[in-house]
């Protein structure tokens, strides 16, 4: 479990999006479980679950319908939607349209989608925003559960407090570079891209 810290605009979110195949890096390579992000994007997407401030939900569908859609799109049409809803505490609004949900509820629904997916690699961009204490506990519980099952996570944060006890190590990014004494160059479009290996247990992002 790796945390990425840094001030706004330093490139940590960009890095996450590149790994998630949402953006294309201008230089360098990125491998997730051996699959190249650029050329084997589809393989990477099978392994990766992305969570950001963008809810990615359909306002006019109910919570349940959103999850059912996600389950089919993920390739698990028989996934247990009700269990996921119950876990995030949204069973009572399962048939309500998302349009009426608060930001926190939408976040929890997005988390439910992640729970359905059970990805090998979690990419979380500021996941604790808009979550109350219960929500944070849910999130951390899920992260730990995936970790125990052999998965990994990269979490972009601006505040370490909610993630206490969950992260194995943190990496600080400044101006698009990893800011440690043995700095490897993460700069996008840089002239000498070197590999940065984040040791995340069995997984390897190199």
């Amino acid at each position: 479990m790796v945390g990425l810290l840094g001030h706004n605009g330093c490139g940590k979110s960009t890095f996450l999006r590149i790994v998630a195949t949402l953006l294309k890096a201008s230089a360098g390579d990125c491998f997730v479980y051996g699959a190249n992000v650029k050329s084997d994007g589809d393989v990477v997407r099978h392994h990766v679950g992305f969570f950001s401030h963008v809810p990615g939900l359909y306002d006019d569908l109910s919570a349940r319908e959103n999850l059912a859609f996600a389950a089919t799109m993920l390739g698990f049409p028989e996934a247990d939607i009700d269990a996921a809803l119950e876990r995030v505490g949204l069973t009572h609004v399962a048939h309500e349209r998302v349009r009426g949900f608060s930001a926190g509820m939408q976040r929890r629904l997005s988390l439910a989608r992640l729970i359905l997916q059970r990805p090998r690699l979690l990419l979380l961009d500021e996941p604790y925003n808009n979550l109350d204490v219960a929500g944070i506990a849910l999130m951390n519980g899920f992260i730990r559960e995936l970790n125990a099952a052999g998965g990994a996570a990269v979490v972009v944060l601006h505040d370490l407090v909610p993630a206490q006890g969950v992260l194995d190590r943190t990496v600080t990014i400044r101006d698009g570079r990893v800011h440690t004494p043995t700095a490897a160059d993460l700069r996008h479009g840089g002239d000498s891209p070197q590999a940065i290996t984040l040791p995340v247990g069995a997984a390897g992002i190199s």
Binding site: G9, S26, A27, D175, G176, R187, H188, G189
Partner: protein
């Protein structure tokens, strides 16, 4: 996305200017030659000589679209920015020549047929092509991200170029089905030499226009890269 090749910021070499003058000189020569050495047409008199600009203009507009097509294909294949810029420059020049072809066609048509427009296959196709190119250029101007702009205009350019023969075919068929006589435009041999010379001159002229526009586009793109890098804060050490 390949790293941006930064063009050097040197001013255009004297060779560019010399070539430009040469091309223009050739153009003037061929025009004078064609106009002066060809006899007046039996039916249309000296108006027929507008063919010496009209036909080459039409040829050039299609050639420009060809550059758009192949530039776009190459860009999608190799992700080389320069191909994208070449396609865009060619689209601009092509659009201008479309406009010229249309105006010349109308100038020729009015005294000949009594109307400014006859919906014949060539003029209509030129008008549609003009609109396709305008759409392409509008798309480019409305998209700010350079990578997205390149990808989108490449696909739009390719499909637009594919559409050109299809439009031609459908308009021709349209006229045939309504049994409209097509306007014969045969060319007797004494005109041919002048026409071929002018085709060559126009091709060179267009190549030169595209080349200069392409250079300007390279500079614009380099400026974009610089401002992007500055925004990312990646310039400092």
């Amino acid at each position: 996305m390949s790293p941006a090749p930064t063009p050097s910021f040197e001013p255009p070499r004297p060779l560019h200017a010399a070539f430009g003058w040469l091309v223009f000189g050739f153009f003037i020569f061929t025009q004078a030659y064609a106009v002066l050495t060809s006899p007046a047409d039996a039916m249309m008199g000296h108006l027929q000589k507008i063919m010496y600009v009209h036909v080459p203009s039409a040829w050039v507009e299609f050639a420009a679209v060809g550059v758009v097509l192949f530039g776009s294909l190459y860009f999608l294949w190799k992700e080389d920015e320069r191909a994208d810029l070449l396609a865009a420059s060619s689209a601009e020049v092509g659009a201008v020549f479309c406009g010229l072809t249309l105006v010349q066609g109308m100038i020729w048509g009015r005294p000949t047929w009594g109307v400014w427009w006859t919906w014949d296959a060539r003029l209509t196709s030129t008008l549609v092509l003009f609109l396709i190119l305008v759409g392409y250029l509008a798309l480019r101007s409305f998209v700010e991200d350079p990578h997205r702009r390149g990808q989108w205009s490449a696909v739009v350019g390719i499909i637009g170029a594919i559409n050109v023969p299809i439009v031609w075919m459908s308009v021709k068929w349209w006229r045939t089905m309504h049994q409209i006589q097509s306007n014969p435009r045969s060319l007797s041999p004494e005109y041919l030499r002048g026409l071929l010379l002018n085709l060559a001159a126009f091709t060179l002229l267009t190549a030169w226009f595209i080349w200069r526009r392409y250079e300007a586009a390279r500079y614009e793109r380099a400026a974009e890269h610089v401002s992007q890098a500055a925004a990312l804060g990646g310039i400092d050490g």
